[in-house]
């Protein structure tokens, strides 16, 4: 046998040692092996650092190969000795101790470096990464002192660090750049469930948060975000990602891109040098997970042992979060696409979300939350590219599926607690209804209405009451079909609205998860509806989602057929002045606005404005005191008036003043569909109040309130709500009526349709007769106005949503084409 060749391995980590293990299994006798490791430790299982931090295991338990392994296999371990240069021509490596070691074959397994985001203060004492056992020891020591830790990065590593620190008794805040935690592994729905779980463990999660600076003199004191918020912290863990550690290879002249470039046999650009692990780039991919690294190590060992093989063909990866009690699994590609089908399963009661992405009858991606036991089964089907067309219908239920079950349309209401309110009008909870059905032997909707009053008022909870009947009585009850919001859900608008309240759902992803939406992020029908319902129900807490609004409401102007916009400034009650008219004339000239029109709502429309000009137009109008007229909004549009007692010889009350007062009180409010009002000073009705959504006719004895008129697609005169004596009364009644409509109507349903459905008498009863209820509606409207009455035009003049009004880039003609 010929003399043994010399193999030098740089890196005593998981990849370096695994490659050696694989080599020894194939050919134990052909190399003298030397392993250099910068850390003064033996080879340990780096992916188990999180459980060590969380105190669930110890360092000794995660050691893969102890000293005896090196000895038994005749491996020279040089731990704590760092290779600082490679000399490919002389085939030797130089270490920080000044030693030179020659090689016949060199294997680079230098792994990766934590990415330290380049912000001021990143070098302060107390700012650490989460990469090796020394980092874990530092974190454990810091946790002993208590206080707050900030983890920068809500990816896999960051969340494991956050959980570990929390388990060690620290207060923890996670700062994450994008809106979804672990966005590379999870979709929005699973990200939401994960966030909720972490928050319930006392971990604060700030998403969409960008770090500006780490504060402190010598020692870290806190983290400052770009939005100005400051989070105090005695420890900052940077977990913003990793970068392949390629500096040695680069200095040695090996070809590198993001990682050290290797072929399928793990060969670098130098025939004597190979590389494996997180430091390499193979077919354009860089890996940070363990499974691909094991595959690379097998390929490297084959090459070193001169065993014939097909080499390494790249890997499909899967991820599991190692936080005890949180089950998250993700694999493959789960971005949505037209040519892909999503199978989504949601079990709101048990907090389970599963999504399988199918392309060409094969699984290409999977995200599982809450129940991940089938993860590996899906992953195997994915890797094997198995044709699943036969088992498709039951695929989502996993391998244990025995057949029979289909998605249950009653699941959402079944999952509701007994204290969940079903009927908002009468304050009836689920438990009372179910109790009545059992005790009194009720079998129909009419009986439930008679006995419990549930669904007996506005009727918007009818669908839910029917579902309760169906749940309680089984197949003997057949509820009437409910028109679904859209193809994304089985539920109708009324059910969705009621469940948002009953389950206190406060974000769109939360609604979609808890109500078991069938699509990952809804469609152009359901998203604007959900956005409105949440704005209406949680005015203080809900952050309006502009991307779920129709373009007109997103940019506060009306899109025209040629893509330009029209705008209508508010003219309170239809009154204007020379200053206002002059300002409009100047703006029309300055911006070359092609058309100006007087509208039916007693104000002035400027048409044909280019989107880029909108903020400048608003700035000029704003200087003259104009605010948005919301002519684009599902919200309060106009309050038309006549000149009333100010000028008219027939006027009975100050109709102009009341109109202005109502408009100033109610502007800015969002409603299910547009709301147009009018106040006429006498029964001659010059303001045409009797075909409006809400109208007032002034009479000698007071104010006649009308509602539910229509003069568009359909024409319908108003119904009379009642007569009130004073302006104050008129305002309170009108506001209460609109609030009742805001809370009950289906999105895009005008007042006249809602009123017909609910019943004019029911509305009269609640607004005219029930003073307590009326004042409650009024108070809720007033509360919501605190958050709604912000002029959107001046906000945009001040720079809000700048991106909406500018092109992303302007690409001129390429020179060659000229």
């Amino acid at each position: 046998m010929s003399e043994r060749k010399k193999l030098v391995v740089i890196g005593n980590g998981m990849a370096g040692c695994r490659a050696v293990e694989e080599l020894l299994a194939r050919a134990p006798d052909i190399y003298d092996i030397t392993i250099f490791g910068a850390e003064p430790e033996v080879n340990y299982n780096r992916i188990m650092l999180s459980p060590v931090l969380a105190g669930e295991t110890t360092f000794d338990e995660i050691i893969i190969n102890g000293r005896d392994w090196y000895d038994e296999n005749g491996i020279a371990l040089r731990a704590g000795e760092e290779v600082i240069a490679i000399d490919p021509a002389g085939r030797q490596v130089l270490t920080d101790k000044g030693e030179r070691t020659g090689y016949d074959r060199l294997l680079i397994a230098t792994g990766s470096m934590p990415f330290i985001i380049p912000v001021p203060g990143a070098a302060l004492d107390g700012v650490i990464a989460f990469r090796d056992i020394a980092d874990v020891r530092r974190m454990t020591a810091a946790a002993g002192k208590g206080g707050r830790a900030v983890v920068i990065g809500g990816g896999l590593l960051g969340l494991e660090a956050a959980n570990g620190l929390r388990t060690n008794g620290m207060d923890v805040t996670v700062i994450h750049l994008t809106d979804t935690l672990m966005e590379r592994q999870l979709d929005e729905a699973a990200g939401f469930l994960l966030r909720r779980e972490l928050e319930s463990r006392g971990i604060e999660v700030l998403t969409g948060a960008s770090t500006e600076e780490i504060l402190g003199e010598n020692v870290v004191e806190g983290v400052k975000l770009k939005d100005g918020r400051v989070v105090p912290a005695g420890l900052v863990v940077m977990a913003a990602g990793i970068r392949p550690n390629i500096s040695l290879a680069q200095k040695a002249g090996l070809e590198c891109n993001r990682g050290i470039l290797v072929d399928d046999f793990m060969q670098t650009s130098d025939p004597c040098i190979m590389a494996v692990g997180e430091c390499v780039e193979h077919r354009g991919q860089v890996y940070g997970l363990v499974a691909p690294i094991w595959d690379m190590c097998r390929a490297a060992a084959d090459t070193l042992a001169a065993v014939d093989s097909d080499g390494y063909g790249g890997s499909v990866t899967s991820t599991k979060l190692k936080v005890t009690g949180v089950d998250v699994f993700s694999a493959g590609d789960f971005a949505p696409g037209d040519d892909r089908d999503d199978i989504v399963y949601r079990d709101a009661a048990r907090g389970i979300y599963k999504r399988i992405v199918i392309f060409d009858d094969r699984i290409i991606g999977a995200v599982l939350y809450g129940d991940t036991q089938d993860g590996n089964w899906y992953f195997q089907l994915l890797k094997d590219a198995e044709d699943i067309s036969e088992s498709r219908e039951t695929l989502i239920f996993g391998p244990a599926f025995a057949g029979g079950a289909t998605a249950d349309p009653n699941a959402a209401v079944a999952a509701l607690a007994d204290t969940g309110e079903i009927c908002g009008c009468n304050g009836i909870c689920k438990g009372e209804i179910v109790g009545a059905i059992h005790e009194k032997g009720l079998t129909s909707l009419a009986e439930v209405r008679a006995h419990t009053k549930a669904s007996a008022s506005c009727g918007s909870c009818t669908g839910l009451v029917e579902q309760l009947l169906s749940l309680t009585l089984g197949d003997t009850y057949n509820p009437a079909a409910v028109e679904q919001v859209c193809g994304c859900t089985e539920l109708g608008h009324d059910d969705v609205r009621r469940l948002i309240k009953a389950k206190e759902l406060k974000t769109i992803p939360e609604v979609m998860q808890e109500l078991e939406w069938k699509t990952p992020d809804g469609c152009a029908k359901c998203r604007p509806a959900l956005n409105y319902y949440l704005v209406c129900d949680w005015p203080e807490e809900y952050a309006d989602d502009y991307q779920s609004r129709f373009i007109n409401e997103r940019v506060h102007a009306n899109i025209q057929k040629d893509g330009t916009y029209s705008i209508v400034p508010r003219m309170w009650g239809g009154m204007t002045s020379s200053t206002e008219l002059r300002a409009i004339a100047d703006v029309v000239d300055k911006f070359d606005i092609p058309a100006v029109k007087v509208t039916g709502g007693q104000r002035i429309d400027m048409l044909g404005i280019r989107k880029e000009d909108l903020p400048a137009v608003w700035a000029d109008l704003g200087k003259a005191g104009f605010v948005s007229g919301h002519a684009y909004a599902k919200g309060l549009r106009t309050v038309k008036t006549c000149v009333g007692t100010d000028w008219c010889r027939f006027g009975t009350q100050d109709s102009t003043g009341l109109g202005v007062r109502i408009e100033k009180f109610m502007w800015g409010s969002w409603t299910p569909a547009k709301v147009k009002m009018a106040v006429s000073g006498c029964p001659r009705n010059c303001a045409e109040a009797t075909c409006k959504d809400v109208g007032i006719i002034c009479v000698d004895s007071g104010f006649e309130i009308h509602f539910a008129g229509a003069a568009g697609l359909e024409i319908q005169g108003t119904e009379k709500l009642g007569l009130v004596a004073t302006e104050e009364d008129a305002l309170e009644h009108v506001v209460a009526l609109v609030q009742m409509y805001r809370e009950q109507a289906r999105y895009l349903e005008r007042i006249y349709k809602w009123a017909k459905r609910v019943g004019y008498n029911e509305i009269r009863r609640q607004i005219m007769e029930d003073g307590e209820r009326r004042r409650a509606y009024f108070d809720r409207f007033v509360f919501s106005q605190k958050f709604a009455q912000v002029d959107p035009w001046s906000e945009r003049v001040s720079g809000k949503d700048k991106h909406e009004f500018r092109p992303m880039a302007d690409i001129g003609f390429p020179r060659a084409a000229e």
Partner: protein
């Protein structure tokens, strides 16, 4: 050899939103989906010329703001019962940076 022109960063585009590019080929809409994928298509609905960049983005589709046609960002074709298509343009990502194929925008202009 393709000539890639840098047009901006991923963060310049709102999640489930779009931004526009002014090019010799006309206005191009660059979309960012909920899954952080980016697509570029002609900003002109085949139905009545509506600016698709102004629509609501869902999955990998966009609903035109004028008459609710739904266009696929991947293929540029109308989804559902409607028939029609818009031109699509190749984008390249390097981390957060986004590039567009310069040749595609120029050739389109020459047509």
């Amino acid at each position: 050899m393709r000539n890639w022109i840098e047009i901006g960063n991923l963060s310049d585009i709102p999640l489930r939103g779009a931004r526009c590019l002014e090019t010799p080929a006309g206005r191009i809409a660059v979309f960012r989906t909920a899954a952080d994928e980016v697509y570029a298509i002609e900003d002109r609905c085949p139905h009545k010329g509506g600016p698709l960049s102004q629509g609501i983005v869902h999955g990998t589709g966009v609903t035109c703001p004028l008459h609710n046609w739904v266009m696929s960002l991947e293929t540029g074709e109308a989804l559902g019962a409607d028939e029609g298509a818009v031109r699509t343009f190749d984008l390249k990502r390097d981390g957060d940076r986004i590039f567009i194929d310069a040749a595609a925008t120029a050739v389109a202009a020459a047509e």
